[in-house]
């Protein structure tokens, strides 16, 4: 259910072909009324159906915040556990597309700040399929944060059924000198930066792709940091109260004695998302900024 998901085949073609396959009952074009259709999905899920709601951009979920952050997250709690809300809210949540501040939000931190909600950020097609299946089967509300810049990438995805469980991080690359913790598209950029650091600087970097923000795989983060003794956190969120602010806290609390350097971060440069393409490409984490910060962390 969402804007242009059925007959138009999806604004980004994510739902392409589904309307032809499943028809009007299961693929529903909505008017531009995010509050109403996300609230409707919440109410419908209370009676046992499992709506998947698309936000054309996660930025548009902001006009439905009361529905998503009050009703989806708190109905279970306020009913003393009598209700549960098995919905999925999915859509792109990224910058780097030259569309200005209103269309470039990355609200996984805001979602994670609401107990009752879950949020995942797939960085590749394999995880996108496996996490989406896990999200739909989950009996709690799950946000799936996608990235329009990844929609155009090609990966091999198994045809057969598989699940990527919520709360399980993925080690994209093993290493011994530095741990980079990242999620979403930034994990892919971090992986590229790790390869460059290895080739040009002889530094062995381990890259942890969180996949799931809440629940969070603390264990994998801590195991890696305890091994490498250094942590660099990379995300597209703005730094203040970003996801990595929490992860940094966890690392200092639970692996303080293992650290050989302060935890470092690369986040979006702390200003509203800028329109100008060249500047926006610098504002969000890129390979150059990651390498620069990694070298500082190792200095």
């Amino acid at each position: 259910m969402g804007e242009e998901v059925a007959q138009y085949n999806g604004a980004y073609k994510v739902t392409e072909g589904l309307w032809e396959k499943w028809g009007d009952k299961r693929l529903i074009d909505t008017p531009i009324s995010e509050a109403a259709f996300s609230g409707l999905a919440i109410g419908a899920s209370a009676l046992g159906i499992r709506p998947v709601v698309e936000m054309m951009f996660m930025s548009f979920s902001y006009v439905a915040i009361d529905q998503l952050f009050n009703n989806a997250s708190f109905c279970r709690y306020m009913s003393g556990g009598l209700m549960n809300i098995p919905i999925v809210v999915r859509g792109p949540a990224n910058g780097g597309t030259n569309v200005g501040a209103t269309h470039s939000h990355t609200p996984e931190n805001m979602v994670a700040n609401h107990p009752g909600l879950k949020v995942v950020c797939p960085s590749n097609a394999y995880d996108a399929k496996g996490l989406m299946k896990a999200a739909i089967r989950d009996n709690d509300p799950v946000f799936v944060m996608e990235n329009t810049l990844l929609y155009g990438e090609k990966w091999d995805v198994p045809e057969e059924e598989y699940i990527v469980e919520l709360g399980v991080a993925n080690i994209l690359k093993e290493g011994s000198d530095l741990t980079i913790v990242s999620h979403g598209r930034c994990a892919m950029i971090s992986l590229q930066a790790a390869k460059t650091l290895e080739e040009k600087h002889g530094i062995s970097v381990e890259v942890v792709d969180l996949r799931s923000i809440r629940p969070l795989d603390e264990e994998t983060i801590l195991r890696s940091v305890k091994k490498t003794h250094r942590a660099l956190l990379v995300e597209e969120n703005k730094p203040y109260c970003g996801v990595d602010a929490q992860i940094s806290h966890i690392i200092q609390l639970k692996a303080f004695d293992y650290l050989d350097a302060p935890v470092h971060r690369v986040s979006a440069i702390d200003a509203p998302q800028i329109y100008a393409k060249e500047l926006e490409n610098w504002q969000i984490p890129n390979e150059e900024r990651i390498i620069e910060m990694a070298l500082k962390c190792l200095a």
Partner: protein, 382 residues
């Protein structure tokens, strides 16, 4: 600033049927001259069913009077939005609910809760913040829930429950069930965007939801005149090609007669309906609203109590038609007072939930993970 005209006016019940433009708004009957008790939906009521309506209305009144005392004693925290004066609305409509009908409302939710059959004990204990409350003390006065009775809350944000109500109705239609959803809201909620978006969706998709505006004349301290450009709130349905009807809310039989049409149509034709029910609250927006005699006059309140008190109106009707004697009415009243008093005692003596309950009922998957298969950290306390 008072809305005296609103109260004094004897409402002429008006309806609009979906017809080719221009819409026909026919004035059908005046509330004064019609005996709604003789309408077919009411005539078929057994003596026991009529007495049950009386018991519910009186029960809500006595329960809320007792909760007000508890609030003033400092036993109930937060907000207390009393329904006193509006009892016949929830009572009448809930009495029409069938197996697949569902109901959702806003924060003035005690009346609806008791009407669907929730116990005074669980409701009072919830307001006291006790473990024996309907939500284990996690919701409070504004957030009563009873899904086993098709009652989906109890919601704190103005109009936020209206799309959920449409969703309940959407699910009924999706599953091929014959039923309707009742989405209650106040006159203060009609100017929220989420409500207007929901009216459009409901009509566009032919969803069997009945929106019930309980128009008590005031959105908190702001009178209808000062908050809505079009005071005939039901007329908004016209903009969404939706049928509407307006009626009075002090006579439970009138409420039943009019709501029955809306609910039947929703069930039979999968069509939404907008009901505006003119009612009145005696107390402030919440008990904390000490100024409620500043934005309206004492006379206005007294006038309504004298002529349209829902408890008195049904009582006089049942005495007149021989359903009840004065003694029987008194006996019921005393029973409800006693039940309310007992609920306060029950709440007072109940324990607060243990601290470990703060982190339960957050995630279904955590609560039900008996084999601990879940991965990752769900809660982030140091």
């Amino acid at each position: 600033m008072a809305n005296s005209d609103f109260v004094k006016a004897t409402l002429m019940a008006t309806t609009k049927k979906k017809t080719a433009a221009p819409a026909k708004k026919s004035t059908t009957k005046s509330a004064k001259s019609t005996n709604f008790a003789t309408a077919p939906i009411n005539k078929s009521l057994t003596k026991e069913a009529k007495i049950a309506l009386y018991r519910t209305i009186v029960g809500i009144r006595r329960f809320e009077e007792r909760s007000l005392r508890a609030y003033n004693q400092g036993k109930i925290g937060g907000f207390l939005h009393l329904y006193i004066g509006q009892e016949a609305v929830a009572t009448g409509i809930v009495s029409l609910m069938e197996e697949n009908d569902h109901i959702i409302t806003a924060y003035r939710d005690h009346g609806h809760a008791l009407a669907v059959g929730m116990s005074m004990n669980e409701c009072m204990a919830e307001m006291y913040g006790k473990h024996t409350g309907c939500s284990k003390g996690k919701g409070g006065s504004m957030h009563f829930f009873a899904p086993d009775k098709n009652y989906w809350g109890g919601h704190g944000i103005v109009a936020g429950q209206t799309p959920l109500g449409a969703g309940l109705a959407f699910a009924l239609k999706y599953k091929g069930l014959k039923g309707c959803a009742l989405a209650f809201l106040g006159d203060g909620a009609v100017n929220q965007g989420s409500f207007m978006e929901t009216l459009n969706l409901a009509s566009l998709w032919n969803i069997p939801v009945v929106f019930v505006i309980e128009n008590n004349g005031y959105s908190m301290g702001t009178s209808l005149k000062r908050s809505s450009a079009e005071e005939n709130l039901a007329h908004r349905a016209d903009g969404f090609d939706m049928e509407w009807e307006v009626c009075n809310g002090h006579d439970v039989f009138e409420v039943r007669e009019v709501a029955n049409r809306a609910m039947t149509r929703a069930r039979e034709e999968h069509k939404p309906f907008l009901l505006e029910i003119r009612t009145y609250r005696y107390r402030g927006h919440s008990v904390a609203d000490a100024n409620h005699e500043k934005y309206r006059t004492k006379e206005e309140i007294e006038e309504y109590k004298r002529t349209k008190d829902p408890v008195n109106v049904i009582k006089q009707q049942l005495l007149a038609d021989g359903t009840l004697t004065e003694d029987e009415a008194k006996k019921i009243d005393q029973e409800k007072k006693d039940e309310a008093e007992a609920s306060a005692k029950f709440a007072d003596e109940s324990p607060v939930a243990p601290r470990s309950e703060i982190q339960t009922d957050v995630y279904w998957e955590v609560d039900n993970d008996s084999e601990s298969k879940l991965k990752g950290t769900y809660f982030f306390n140091d």
